[in-house]
């Protein structure tokens, strides 16, 4: 069993084991999460050593319909796999005390398996299977363990994403067909398909790919599923949803959409960058209006991912490195924020800004961690949020119109405008009528331990991003225009 195969088989085995292990599912999921994290670290080491050249596993000979089991991993993929494994471990630790059925743990392991699969697959058929397979566990996580109107949110989440990705499927098929027409061989291998001349259908194909990945990122016009899905998902579910699943979209654009249709991508670049810049500002604006903490963090994710896209579409070395790093940073920062909101919800079953007040005295540790994460989220330099956004903005400045960078910086400024009033309303303002602050007790040792690791990571990436950039940059070299 090669290492790359193990990376997604171990979580799958974990899922099955958790499902079968009934009450001890927690421990099984912990064991398998640790194993997965160790594996991803083991996989990352050689890649780092060989300055990111990456190791490829050319799977078996192409099976039926030109489909082949091909996995490969370079700096970018493995960092995201690492992020998945790490956040999965965080989720297991965070939901340790929840009284949930074995299915809960199984779903998270299955989700981790599918996500690792997406980041490792180099065969488009395999990629698509893993891409859609992520929806099923998430559907059940939101649906079974979400909060009050979880039923509608779960359905909306699944259908919205499925609608996007079915058009992506048509685009992928079109590419395979055109490739066969040009070269006469049926193949779904990404590397082989890169060079196909897409002819007149190229804009449609790129649009299909963009819609499929855009829904997942989410780019602004296709984002309305995110606030509902996040608000209804359980704490750990939101962490995985925001931490990793949104990055599938960006990864898809980076790995599949841009290489497959480079000419159309170059032609549409100003429009795409405008959309990304709009996402950055629009997300922040909408966040200002939210009265529900989780929706606010959800909209902030839209803004952050807007920056990520700015970096991706800039096509410069800095922009791409910034996007890759921002994907990881956003995973950690927003993961921490969702955990904190989740802990709040666990204690008081309320998420509104006006439901709390004066928590700084009642739960000082919660206040400290929330403040720390908020600062990282709005991009305070010295913490990880700033590094990613700064690189993305400098990337977009070099490659295209200055207006986009200015919009981006406006987005950075607006971040503080929505984040701090919310922090003040929950922690500093005195308790209003009908506030449930009395029920909130401070974080326990386990919860603080989790958040200390996340805060330490935020500080480390913020102060010394160079080792991370060294891992990511080489694999992006191929994508620089």
């Amino acid at each position: 069993m090669s290492l790359l195969t193990a990376l997604w088989v171990v979580p799958l085995a974990g899922a099955v084991a958790c499902a079968l292990s009934g009450r001890a599912a927690r421990w099984t999921s912990l064991a398998f999460s640790l194993a997965a994290l160790a594996l991803s670290a083991a996989a990352l080491r050689p890649v780092l050593a060989s300055s990111g050249a990456g190791l490829a596993l050319a799977g078996g000979a192409p099976g039926a319909f030109g489909v082949s089991y091909a996995l490969a991993a370079d700096g970018l993929s493995l960092s995201l796999v690492g992020l998945t494994a790490f956040l999965n471990l965080i989720c297991v630790a965070a939901s340790w005390d929840l009284d949930v059925s074995a299915g809960y743990w199984a779903c998270f392991q299955a989700l981790a398996c599918a996500l690792c699969g997406v980041f490792l697959a180099r065969d488009l058929f395999l990629f698509y299977i893993f891409w859609e397979a992520t929806l099923i566990p998430m559907f059940f996580i939101i649906g079974l363990w979400g909060s009050d109107n979880r039923r509608r949110a779960a359905l909306k989440f699944f259908i919205f994403t499925f609608a996007g990705s079915i058009f992506m499927l048509l685009a992928l098929i079109a590419v395979v067909v055109l490739h066969q027409r040009a070269t006469g061989e049926w193949t779904w291998n990404l590397a082989a398909l890169r060079g196909t001349d897409l002819g007149p259908a190229a804009p449609w194909i790129f649009l299909g790919l963009l819609v499929g990945f855009g829904v997942k990122v989410p780019m602004v016009p296709l984002h309305t599923w995110l606030p509902d899905a996040h608000t209804e998902a359980p704490a750990a579910g939101s962490v995985m949803l925001a931490g990793v699943m949104l990055k599938m979209g960006v990864y898809g654009i980076l790995r599949v959409a841009l290489p497959l249709a480079p000419t159309v991508a170059a032609a549409w670049m100003p429009l795409l960058t405008l959309l990304a810049a709009i996402s950055a500002v629009y997300g922040a604006l909408c966040a200002m209006a939210q009265t529900d903490l989780k929706r606010l963090v959800a909209y902030s994710s839209i803004a952050h991912l807007g920056f990520c896209l700015l970096g991706v579409f800039s096509g410069t070395a800095q922009g791409l490195a910034g996007a890759a790093l921002l994907m990881i940073n956003h995973g950690i920062t927003t993961g921490a924020l969702f955990l904190l909101v989740g802990f709040l919800y666990e204690r008081a079953h309320k998420r509104g800004l006006s439901d709390f007040g004066g928590l700084a005295e009642r739960a000082p540790r919660l206040a400290f961690f929330f403040g720390f994460s908020i600062m990282a989220s709005i991009g305070l330099p010295g913490l990880n949020g700033f590094v990613g956004e700064f690189l993305c903005l400098s990337g977009i400045w070099q490659s295209s119109l200055p207006i986009f960078a200015v919009l981006g910086v406006i987005g950075v400024t607006l971040a503080a405008v929505y984040a701090l009033p919310a922090y003040q309303a929950v922690f500093w303002a005195p308790e209003g009528p009908g506030s449930v602050s009395a029920k909130v007790r401070d974080l326990g040792a386990r919860e603080s331990g989790i958040l200390w690791t996340l805060c330490a990571l935020m500080l480390w990436i913020g102060l010394a991003p160079q080792p991370w950039l060294a891992a990511l940059a080489p694999s992006l070299r191929g994508l620089v225009r």
Binding site: T224, Q290, L380, L393, S394, L414, Q424, F427, Q466
Partner: protein, 641 residues
């Protein structure tokens, strides 16, 4: 100090505060919160000694650079963090260290008994660390990092008593305004990195110098300069982004003293000093800086004269003096600007601490002009120090302020025109508002005082000692002139760098020597001070009721001054506009229109399904009719073609 010890001392500047904060946070805060200030005071002492030692080193052997580690390098540019200890840095650093330590001592007693005592000291010292980091940064990115950390510390300290609604609003206003300023700084950073491919100051100076000598300037330089000025205006509370400073007085007095008088607000000026070669290379910018400085100084001097709250008066006074520093910079007098920055640090800190004492006497965070009066005898030490600092501020001859402020006024006079007028008016105005404050607080009994129950008494040694030291310092600050002259102008600024064999002694362009002592400056300075003081005496001691009578008689005038000539209302509109836009985008555009549209497609599908299922009434004949029709259609399609 041997050359080997220099780096250690430099790093000590950082290690001491960091270890004090960590020790305090992890050990003292949970165990013994009331002892948190001891390690911090120790670190203040260490930093003070270290900065003085470094000042001596630089004074003797010139500035030096210390590289630490590579922060980030992608594609063709890289950013490395490191320290840069040179003339201006050391001068300001020493002032910050000394004034800061004294204020820390003052705070130890001022904040005793406050429930958030340990939180206050940790954040207070975090600010101290950030200020040190900002001053010693050797590149723009590192400076931006500490620049934002200072902003965060000011947010936490202004909002220290977060139970108070006004404190929360003021903290938010301060942070957001700084973020608006940082909008410019971040954009400037992007420009700098993309244009110069590097962030270190001296390399950028070099590139600008080489380009300037070549006759052309990089295309984005004016924009970079403008954006840096915008950022400096936000941090140093200059027009148009000054309005957060008066509200920042909500914080405890030590913070007002340290941050909003002596150190943080000078960061903006320091940024301009650091990037002066870039700004000077662009023809129009220096005059713009001067214009902003002059206008802000004049406007805030006038408003200061009308404020009732003691700390608000001093806040506007700080804005005015920062305007003067900007004016000095604009006129090319970098040395004078640094000198005034240092002297101002001393006397403004003293004034704030005196105001703190007054407030403490009546057990309120701050005092209002109507609540105090005739306390000359009750608070003798505070009165003496206040008088000394006031004289220095007004620029009366022997005191420190004269040498720095009047040097600026003198430079303005030699420049002539509007700047000259502004300079004169500002010196009159500053003398007026400081003496008005003096008389209203310490002299003459005020008829309105009757109802006041408090009988003020002098505070303990912990309060008075720092104030005395500061007042004495501000009095004799004038003597530091030659020292600063040598540090700032004596060519110690640049690194001995050789470009193509030519040893370039990088000197700050346009930093003329500090003008020597002249009788003309003496006469004009004292005259203006006298006019101001006389007017104050007349309007507060002789015609006692003037100060509150005009408020009653012309409320419209009061509103004009309260809203800073309408500027605050404008800012209010802008803020409401942004939040309104946010609400519109969040609730209406996103939730109702856009999300509604997408969900309506779902309900449309359901509707269509319902329509179709009602249509199929299950009748056999209809089914057969449809079949026949279908067959006929196919027949037509097949047969005809």
């Amino acid at each position: 100090m041997t050359p080997a010890q220099v780096p250690i001392v430099a790093w000590l500047l950082f290690l001491a505060p960091i270890s004090a904060i960590l020790f305090g946070f992890f050990i003292l805060r949970p165990l013994k919160p009331e002892w948190t200030h001891w390690p911090i005071l120790l670190s203040c002492a260490v930093v003070a000694v270290a900065s003085v030692a470094l000042a001596a080193r630089v004074y003797a052997d010139g500035s030096f650079d210390l590289n630490f580690y590579r922060w980030a390098a992608v594609g063709d540019w890289g950013v490395d963090f490191g320290l840069r200890i040179d003339g201006p840095c050391v001068a300001v650093l020493t002032m910050v260290a000394l004034v800061g330590s004294l204020i820390h001592v003052y705070a130890a007693s001022y904040m005793k008994g406050d429930p958030g005592f340990s939180r206050f000291f940790l954040v207070f010292h975090l600010f101290f660390l950030a200020m040190i980091g900002l001053l010693t940064a050797n590149n723009y990115v590192q400076m931006y990092l500490f620049w934002e950390l200072v902003g965060l510390a000011s947010y936490l300290l202004i909002g220290f008593w977060y139970q108070k609604e006004s404190a929360r609003k003021a903290a938010l206003k301060a942070f957001l305004t700084n973020r608006v300023g940082d909008f410019g700084f971040l954009l400037a950073l992007l420009l700098i990195l993309t244009t110069f491919r590097v962030a270190q100051f001296h390399i950028i100076y070099l590139k600008v110098l080489v380009l300037a000598s070549g006759g052309h300037t990089p295309e984005f330089l004016p924009l970079i300069g403008g954006l840096l000025i915008w950022a400096a205006c936000a941090k140093s509370a200059q027009f148009p982004l000054y309005f957060w400073l008066p509200d920042a007085m909500e914080g405890p007095t030590p913070t007002s003293a340290l941050m909003h008088a002596a150190t943080m607000v000078t960061a903006g000026v320091f940024l301009l000093i650091r990037s002066w070669p870039l700004i000077a290379a662009v023809p129009g910018l220096p005059t713009a800086v001067a214009a902003i400085g002059a206008f802000t100084a004049l406007a805030s001097a006038v408003i200061a004269g009308t404020r009732k709250d003691l700390k608000r008066i001093l806040a506007y006074s700080t804005v005015s003096h920062l305007g003067l520093m900007m004016l000095a910079l604009g006129l090319g007098q970098i040395g004078v600007a640094v000198f005034h920055l240092i002297v101002h640090g001393f006397f403004k800190a003293a004034l704030f601490l005196c105001a703190g004492n007054v407030g403490h006497a009546i057990h309120q965070p701050t005092a209002n002009v109507d609540e105090v009066g005739g306390w000359r005898k009750a608070l003798p030490w505070t009165y003496a120090c206040f008088l000394l600092a006031a004289l220095s501020l007004a620029g009366v001859f022997p005191f420190g302020g004269f040498f720095s402020k009047d040097a600026i006024v003198d430079a303005a006079l030699s420049r002539g025109g509007l700047f000259a007028a502004a300079g004169l008016l500002v010196s009159i105005g500053s003398a007026f508002y400081i003496f008005r404050m003096l008389f209203l607080t310490f002299h003459g009994s005020r008829p309105e005082q009757k109802g006041l129950s408090a009988h003020p008494h002098e505070a303990g040694f912990g309060f008075v000692a720092p104030i005395v030291l500061l007042a004495v310092g501000s009095a004799f600050a004038g003597l530091l002139r030659p020292l600063i002259e040598r540090l700032v102008d004596g060519g110690l600024h640049g690194l001995p760098v050789s470009v193509g064999g030519v040893a370039l002694q990088m000197n700050l362009p346009g930093s003329a020597m500090i003008p020597g002592f002249e009788w003309r400056a003496l006469l004009i300075g004292t005259a203006m001070a006298a006019i101001g003081a006389g007017a104050a005496y007349a309007l507060t001691m002789i015609d006692a009721g003037w100060d509150w009578r005009w408020r009653v008689s012309s409320p419209r005038l009061v509103r004009v001054f309260d809203t800073d000539f309408g500027w605050k209302t404008l800012i209010g509109w802008i803020a409401d506009g942004v939040t309104g836009l946010g609400n519109f985008a969040g609730r209406v555009l996103d939730k109702k229109w856009w999300d509604g549209a997408i969900e309506s497609t779902g309900s449309a599908a359901l509707g269509a399904g319902g329509l179709l299922s009602d249509a199929s009434r299950g009748r056999l004949n209809e089914a057969l009719w449809w079949m026949a029709a279908g067959a006929a259609l196919l027949l037509a399609a097949g047969g005809l073609r």
